[in-house]
């Protein structure tokens, strides 16, 4: 184990930027076994902490609310929502885009940071991927139920039918079906594959027959053979390489739903990058929101360290600036295009009936992240957490502003309107959070929330024990493993 200051507090602090001393990714007096113990401990402890039960009780009952609302919707019709003409899309679509956006952080961390050799990702990627899956599940709920005749929603898929009719592939909604579907599938594969070695660990530590069987089956008989590892790493690399363009494409396609239309405020070419930046932004915000309490509750501070949090804060700052740029670009284009409808739409956003939503969005998404310029705040866990929650709020409002304010006042003043959500809208939205947290809590309880194999791979002990190599944990151990031993 490399140099460690033993004074109680600061040994957890690995956020130093001193170029001579490469910061440690894993702090504390850890070896492979201790990592295994800490991570598996979360799953193997006989009872989850009280707080787990409390949150689980709340979120699972919210899930029931969601189901109730859906049942009510299906029996009565879309009219139970606040929708109308001109605002034909409201909460449902806003929530869809919101959740899909959150679903971006996971794959981003596991794929893009992986390709960029950002080894610090190892501590949080499993966690983030899990969150991705659950967010995408929540997102998937909405397009399904927002159609008028839910029982015919399957017509969206190109399956032969008695009408011998096919879906219309020119419609962005159909692109959505494919994009989100692919994204959900690939994220799931990616997540599961990365989990196999850790599942094997759990299998080998299993005390009870049930666990042994359960994890045994899930780990598919993984015997950590290096010949397997070789192909495993290759597959992982390929998946990462595939997931990277995919993650960028998904929110681009989602943004096409709006960009391809002719509605002022929707018909904008900057939407794809704008949406992707926003997605990453909100995704990281959600990771931070979740990870801060989790690491505290399950004592993972040594593995998910302050440095991880700080890095995420930096990414949020960067993406916040991109989003802010997008906001201002929209206004510039509206003015520069000389299109009166476009111009009006944006003036209307900022000063019309929905101004309150617009300024909430700007405050949360552009102003709040500016705090992260200061290291003190980046490394202040409480400030970080509050900020991340505010960013989630802001990103939801961003989608609300785009969807609702643009629709509410389009070309003909005679068809202008004002959209008010119904109570069903609101409860459905809250319910989706219930579903999200329920799934997340189950994940925390039953699956390894940190990729042990990967974390071990970035520990100093994982490398040739030679002078000069000490403490350069995150320097060596490239995946491709081409270094030949003499």
């Amino acid at each position: 184990m490399s140099t460690t200051t033993i004074d109680g507090m600061s040994y957890l602090d690995n956020t130093g930027d001193d170029p001579r001393e490469r910061a440690r990714l894993i702090v504390g007096d850890n070896d492979f076994a201790s990592i295994t113990n800490t991570v598996c401990g979360v799953v193997e402890r006989p009872k989850p902490p009280k707080i787990w039960w409390v949150i689980f009780a709340i979120s699972s009952s919210l899930t029931l609310v969601l189901l109730a609302m859906i049942a009510y919707l299906v029996t009565n019709g879309i009219g139970v929502w606040g929708l109308q003409i001109p605002v034909g899309w409201g909460y449902a679509i806003v929530n869809f885009v919101f959740w899909v956006g959150i679903g971006h952080a996971g794959t981003l961390i596991s794929a893009i940071l992986f390709l960029l050799r950002q080894r610090w990702r190892t501590s949080i990627n499993r966690f983030a991927e899990g969150m991705t899956i659950f967010a995408v599940i929540c997102a998937g709920v909405f397009p399904g139920i927002h159609v008028g005749r839910i029982w015919f929603a399957y017509w969206l898929a190109p399956i032969p039918n008695q009408m011998s009719m096919w879906p219309n592939f020119r419609s962005p909604l159909l692109w959505d079906v494919f994009a989100v579907g692919t994204y959900a599938t690939v994220s799931l594969l990616f997540w599961y594959m990365g989990m196999i070695p850790d599942l094997a660990t759990l299998r080998d530590r299993a005390k009870t027959k049930v666990r042994w069987f359960f994890y045994g089956v899930l780990s598919l008989g993984w015997r950590s053979s290096n010949r397997h590892w070789h192909r495993f790493e290759m597959a992982y690399l390929l998946l990462a390489a595939l997931a990277t363009p995919l993650v960028l494409s998904v929110h681009s396609v989602v943004s096409f739903d709006f960009a391809v239309s002719i509605m002022p405020g929707w018909h904008t070419t900057i939407f794809p990058p704008y949406f992707v930046a926003g997605a990453i932004f909100s995704g990281f915000a959600m990771v931070v929101t979740l990870v801060i309490p989790t690491r505290k509750i399950f004592g993972l501070e040594e593995i998910i360290t302050l440095r991880h949090l700080e890095n995420m804060a930096k990414i949020m700052l960067a993406t916040a600036m991109m989003v802010g740029l997008a906001y201002s670009t929209e206004f510039f284009m509206a003015w520069y295009s000389g299109n009166q409808y476009e111009a009006f739409t944006f003036m209307n956003r900022a000063f019309g009936p929905y101004a309150w939503a617009y300024w909430t969005m700007v405050t949360c998404n552009v102003l709040v992240p500016q705090l992260f310029w200061f290291k003190k705040l980046r490394t202040n866990i409480v400030a970080l957490w509050i900020a991340s929650v505010l960013i989630n709020v802001g990103m939801w409002f961003e989608r609300f502003v785009i969807v609702v304010s643009s629709l509410s006042r389009d070309y003909l003043p005679t068809s202008w309107g004002y959209y008010r959500p119904s109570i069903v809208d609101i409860l459905t939205f809250l319910g989706s959070f219930g579903l999200f947290f329920t799934l997340f809590l189950l994940f925390v309880r039953f699956l390894p929330i940190v990729g042990m194999a990967e974390v071990k791979g970035v520990m100093p002990q994982a490398h040739l024990d030679r002078p000069g190599h000490r403490g350069h944990g995150d320097y060596h151990g490239d995946i491709a493993g081409t270094e030949v031993v003499s």
Binding site: N76, G77, I78, G79, G82, L83, Q84, I85, P86, G88, W89, H146, V147, G148, R149, I150, F152, A153, W155, L156, M163, M165, W166, P167, N168, R170, S171, P172, L173, L174, V177, D257, V260, S261, I262, M263, W335, G338, N339, Q340, A343, F344, M347, N348, F351, G352, P353, L407, R409, D410, Y411, L412, P413, T414, S415, W416, G417
Partner: protein, 1024 residues
Amino acid sequence: MNRESGPRYWRSLDELARTPEFQEAVQREFPDDEWDRLPPATRRQFLKVMGASMAFAGLTACRWPAEKIVPFAHRPDGRTPGVPERFATSMELGGAALGMVVTSYDGRPIKAEGNSLHPDSLGALTAIAQADILQLYDPERSRRLLYRESGQEFVKSWEDFTIFVGERCAHDGEGISVLAEASSSPAVSRLRDRFLAARPQARWYEYEPISRDNEREGTRLAFGKALRVHPHLEGARVVACLDADPLFDHPATLRLARETAGARSPESETRSRLYVGESTYSLTGARADHRLAVASGRVPSLLAQVAHLLAAAHSIELPDAAAGFAGIAGSPGDEREARFVEMLAADLAAHHGSGVILVGPRQAPAVHALAAVLNQALGNAGTTVTYTADPEPERPSHMAAITELAARIRADEVQNLVILGGNPVYNAPADLRFGELLEKVRYSFHLSLYEDETSKLSTWHLPAAHGLEAWGDGRAWDGTYTLRQPLIEPLYGGRTAIEVLALVLGEAPFSGHEIVRAVMRESAPAVDFEEFWRRALRDGVVQGSAWDAVEPIPDPSGLTVALDGMRILLEAGSPPNAQRPELVLVVDARVHDGRFANNGWLQELPDAITKITWDNALLVSPSTAREMGIADGEIVEVEANGASVELPACVVPGQARFSLTVALGYGRTAAGQVGNGVGADLYRMRTTGAPHQLSQPKVRPTGRRYRLAVTQDHFAIDTIGFNARNLRVADLVREATLDAYLADPEIIHHHDHHPPLISLWKDQVFEGEQWGMSIDLSSCIGCNACIVACQAENNIPVVGREQVLNQREMHWIRLDRYFKTDPSLAPDEVEDAEVVFQPMTCVQCENAPCEQVCPVAATQHTTDGLNAMVYNRCIGTRYCSNNCPFKVRRFNFFNYHKDLKDTTQMQFNPEVTVRSRGVMEKCTFCVQRIQAVRIAASNDNRPIADGEITPACAQTCPSQAIRFGNLNDPSSEVSRLREDPRSYATLAELNIRPRLHYLARLKNPAEGAPTSFGEGDAHGKESV
């Protein structure tokens, strides 16, 4: 019912109450019997009517073997079920019969259209006349005879009634009075004469809350005898409407609309110019070239000033007797008023013989007299306005009649009162307290469609037959003899006024059919009555039976009376102010006098100007609202003539200062589930003295808010929206003055600033028939007829106030109303504004934005260029609606047909899918009509002729503003209009290539008049 108590009171009906028929009747027609279920008998019966309509094919109906009704279009030799038939019939409203042609499917009348042979219809129909068919099927219509005695109800049969009324009225008529609705029916007047002859002591009264009696009395003053006034606008170069609304409230309004459209078109030489002085926006006012918002009480003075100027400045000779009018210049108002009067007087003088002055029915007879005199003096009589003798010259005015009746009841001179239709308890002048009087009458017999307010207080209620269920006759406004034939057996066993009258009279014939034939036989030429009758039935009218015009001679004595009348009016006519505002009670465009309150189509029809549905409101001008402390949408308490009413205020520009307007006909308490409690009842403060203008109402804002269900943004919105709207109007609704247009026909295209419209792909070539539509904004008067036509044709649901508040109304075609104001004004500075209408429906874009976004291809383009909506494929993503720049698509947020009663469903058009929940719907250019014609054409393989296909909206448009046809046929009307320099497409810059083009609106203001707001505002696009 309490059987025991029966005998004690009932001697004559004693045995009857025990007869099995009676028991059975009680069982069958028990009050809490399932309302919507038809009595099984009725179903059989209207199958019989199908039989009746087959009579010509030699089949014989089981009942009425002799009665034959004749399809309009062709003699049906062997009619095939499922093939619609069309019958000419008519509807009577306010003493004039309006001819119509009703389409009937297997004995179910489903849609009413105008009868082109009828002088007041010319093929068009008003919104109300079209919606009347829904009344026919209203499940809440009365379906039983009721007898009330000491608080108990007894269900009776027509036989009971016959016996009973026989006993009551078998003497010389002492104590018998009849209160009838205004009627033009020769049959009614014949029976009335017979009745009065047989019962010399009986009295006959006629009451109608809304009538043109003032005009009638005006002619009596001017010419010594009651005459009927007939304006003719096709040649009128200057039309002055003082509180008059010929485009809405005139019995011949459809003809006048047609004539106005013709006279205003740039092709016509007339170049009509329209001056309107009125207190609240009327349809005519919206069309005006010069409109003056002036208090209703100022209108006499306005006319007096005109008269004065004509005599003084333009040396127009008034007849000696009327010379006095020249003297009495009304007290001069503000300079707006003065200017208006000058221009009007000058124009009238300049167009001797081709101008016309029309005064509205709300103005006192004296004012009408003066107008008549001026029309004489200007040589307009005989050209732009003609007179015929009044059919009932001796009849007292309705107000006088009802007042006298009231007096006689109060004096206990009426023991038996037969009320044939009407609803006096609800709509008689409040000061008569008719409700209380009715209870003083020993026996009152009330015949009406519904168990309404009056029925509830009458001893006998008799269910009336609907106009489409019964035989009848009537006369058009110009006197043309008009027939009415039933299209269906009475659904609820109702009878008509003439049938009841025959019963009361107690002399055969009793069947309406016989009565009408008998009456007709008298007026018919001797030769072959059957042939004559058959043709009359087929045409619905007897051609050439209009009255002859008479040459009116001024009557000095009357004119002096009129003169004094004017003087009094002028003294009273000082402008109203915040302390003494004026309250004007107007007839409503939807529920009329209240009789259509239970009609969902009409209740949900947006008011032309305010766009309010399901309510009436107190209309106030912005400045008035400010100065009286009334907020828009605030509930105000109005108190006048001892009655106080609470209703919401609606702030509208174009309203005269301190002149408040409310529509009558709302606040019904016994209209039915649809109409009860909708709006506020203003009859409660309407008195015999002041039926139209209440001089000093107390108006108190309550501070409570109320959301009016408007289908369009209110004009006063946030500043950003307000400015944007002002910028866009000039682009969306193109407008030019006639002179400017004639000077440069391309003027309306100076708006086009968009780059050339090029697609990324090779453009589609459309071959064969390509349907297109053209709407002339110059002709459109905003009468809403097209909306009801569309609703009836396409089975469009009524969604109710709640859903309208949620902006979920379903009308496929709507009338966009824009207020054109001076763009420099802030929302709260606007006081007056011009109104322009733009009928907006699916424009069937060739590059339809809605199509590409539908994931399941539920909306596609047909080969003949329609933007088709495939209902059974739609899954309801609502994406198409979001991407529709016109927002003309409508979504079924709920299953709006779920709760429809069987009867109401009988109105459905079998050619059109009834859309279910979760499905998008929209205008299809009436594709079912296109297909019907196409099939017919291909059967006798010929090309489709131009004008052969008319969508419902185009068919009923009184001013023929909507034209439809094949764009690929260069000779078609619509292609010709597409070439018209006025033709433009809204939002063409989006390169969506609409198939619906508009013809720019032309105005014809006098020289030197201020040009309208937003005029030629070509650079709206550039500014932000």
